[in-house]
């Protein structure tokens, strides 16, 4: 049923797209129709695949590093009052800054290659991961903590055996959010300075008025993000308590 509705929505969107192109009679370099984009995509499939590979590597490394950093930060925040006082306001403040503005700086610091994009992805997903996991850690059902206290259990053991498992569903929702954000981070990094990746390809195509290629790259990024989100969703199903 879900697949059917996704298919119907896709067909509907393509129909509207084609409708706009036909009715307005727009030239190819302003808005190419779905058929043109599909053809360009097929002709440039190897080019697109190479650049998708680059972006995918950036995103996956970014996801892994960002998740690890976020989990460690959340654990620190949850187990130390000092950390909460010192770090939490800082964390919120960094979210108030437009991370995009840092992209040129990251390129300056980390160079033109992979790591400035990974850093960008990490920066974008760090906060959702940290804050969702931290919220979960701070919202352990109080009854569990009462029970553990009457059992004379150490704080460390309570954290490890009760608070962390109870917070895993929250971490799962943070990771699902991160799977959607991470590609955006990587692509922003590529826009600012790179010679590979879907972001670079989009910018390149745009500059040469190859709007059809731009669309093909953009849609590929969209499909990649959806697949990534689905994969992370499935991978975190057990954590979220959706399957036993």
């Amino acid at each position: 049923m879900r697949y059917l509705s996704a298919l119907a929505a896709t067909v509907f969107a393509i129909a509207i797209w084609q409708g706009i192109v036909s009715v307005a009679g727009l030239p190819k370099f302003i808005l190419p129709g779905p058929a043109v984009v599909a053809e360009t995509w097929w002709q440039s499939r190897w080019l697109i695949a190479t650049h998708t590979w680059t972006t995918a590597i950036e995103v996956l490394i970014g996801l892994a590093c960002g998740t690890a950093l976020g989990v460690i930060t959340a654990l620190q925040l949850a187990s130390s009052r000092a950390a909460r006082v010192l770090v939490q306001p800082m964390l919120v403040f960094t979210q108030a800054l437009p991370v995009f503005a840092l992209a040129p700086l990251l390129t300056l610091w980390l160079g033109y290659g992979l790591w400035s994009k990974v850093a960008m992805a990490v920066l974008i997903i760090y906060f959702p991961i940290t804050s969702s996991f931290f919220d979960g850690l701070m919202r352990t059902p109080p009854g569990y903590l009462d029970l553990a206290r009457t059992m004379q259990v150490s704080k460390r053991s309570i954290l490890w055996h009760i608070r962390i498992p109870a917070a895993l569903p929250s971490l799962a929702s943070g990771m699902r959010l991160a799977a959607v954000y991470a590609p955006i981070g990587a692509v922003i990094g590529e826009w600012v300075g790179s010679s590979q990746g879907l972001g670079y390809l989009m910018l390149l195509a745009n500059g040469r008025a190859k709007t059809d290629l731009m669309f093909a790259a953009m849609l590929t990024l969209g499909v990649f993000s959806i697949l990534l989100h689905m994969a992370v969703r499935r991978a975190t199903a057990r954590m979220a308590g959706e399957v036993r």
């Binding site: 059902p141 009854g143 569990y144 009462d146 029970l147 553990a148 206290r149 009457t150 059992m151 004379q152 259990v153 150490s154 053991s157 309570i158 055996h161 009760i162 498992p165 109870a166 895993l168 308590g241 036993r244």
Partner: protein, 242 residues
């Protein structure tokens, strides 16, 4: 397990300067069930949590002592209305929770014996979500027994169960917790009348000691004196509200 001691609580509790309960003295007989009966908000759960050494949000002035002079909070087992089973752990893991959390070796023989005694042997590897309310509360009781503490604190453990399951659980708990000093906090006069070796009604005015029925606990649900006591307790509760 050390022999079950007498417990005595005396003192007063306030929340932000407002009196929660006036000075009172409550004694729990060694190896017996004391039922603390009262409506919502009179502080009966606070009394129980104070004995357990749990956070209450109230300021308590007074003392809690055991007749053998040893400390109380590290000798209690606690069971609440919510079964507090960890949803990600199996029945067997939940029953042995205390030992697992303290990093001790689990006495598997004892655990399996208790699970069998609670008629849960077919559910050992199931998760709590696969069990009925009554089964879950039996797991919680097994977990409580696994701790093997001389003092057992029960905070309305049966009130979320249907009438039949509740009566079954009352019988099972009365039998299983024999010889321990038990405090049962409840709002159900029938439960107090069935289970209490001593019955205390707690109201805003203080504590009233009531005579339990003469039959040995757990009393039959249709025992006439028990039903009479139930009625008398309910009348007492209603009078206090008026």
């Amino acid at each position: 397990m050390t022999p079950a001691p007498d417990l005595s609580i005396s003192g007063t509790a306030t929340i932000n300067g407002a009196t929660l309960f006036a000075p009172l003295t409550l004694t729990l007989g060694a190896g017996a069930w004391t039922c603390l009966l009262g409506g919502s908000g009179v502080g009966k759960t606070t009394v129980l949590r104070l004995i357990a050494g749990l956070e209450t949000g109230a300021e308590f002035l007074g003392q809690i002592t055991a007749s053998d002079g040893r400390s109380v909070p590290d000798r209690v087992a606690y069971m609440a209305q919510d079964d507090l089973l960890l949803p990600w752990a199996t029945v067997a893991q939940n029953v042995s929770l205390g030992a697992r959390l303290r990093g001790e070796t689990v006495n598997q023989e004892r655990r399996d014996h208790l699970i069998e005694r609670m008629r849960l042997q077919d559910h050992m590897t199931k998760k709590p979500a696969e069990l009925s309310g009554g089964q879950r509360q039996r797991v919680a009781l097994a977990r409580t027994l696994m701790e093997d503490r001389p003092i057992v604190l029960l905070d309305e453990p049966f009130s979320a169960l249907d009438a039949r399951t509740r009566a079954d659980m009352q019988d099972l708990a009365a039998e299983a917790l024999q010889g321990r000093t038990v405090l049962l906090v409840t709002h159900d006069p029938g439960e107090a009348a069935r289970l209490g070796h001593s019955i205390i009604v707690m109201t805003q005015q203080g504590l009233t000691l009531c005579d339990p029925p003469k039959a040995p606990a757990p009393r039959h649900v249709d025992d006439l004196e028990t039903l009479e006591t139930q009625g008398a307790l309910l009348r007492l509760l209603r009078e206090e509200v008026a």
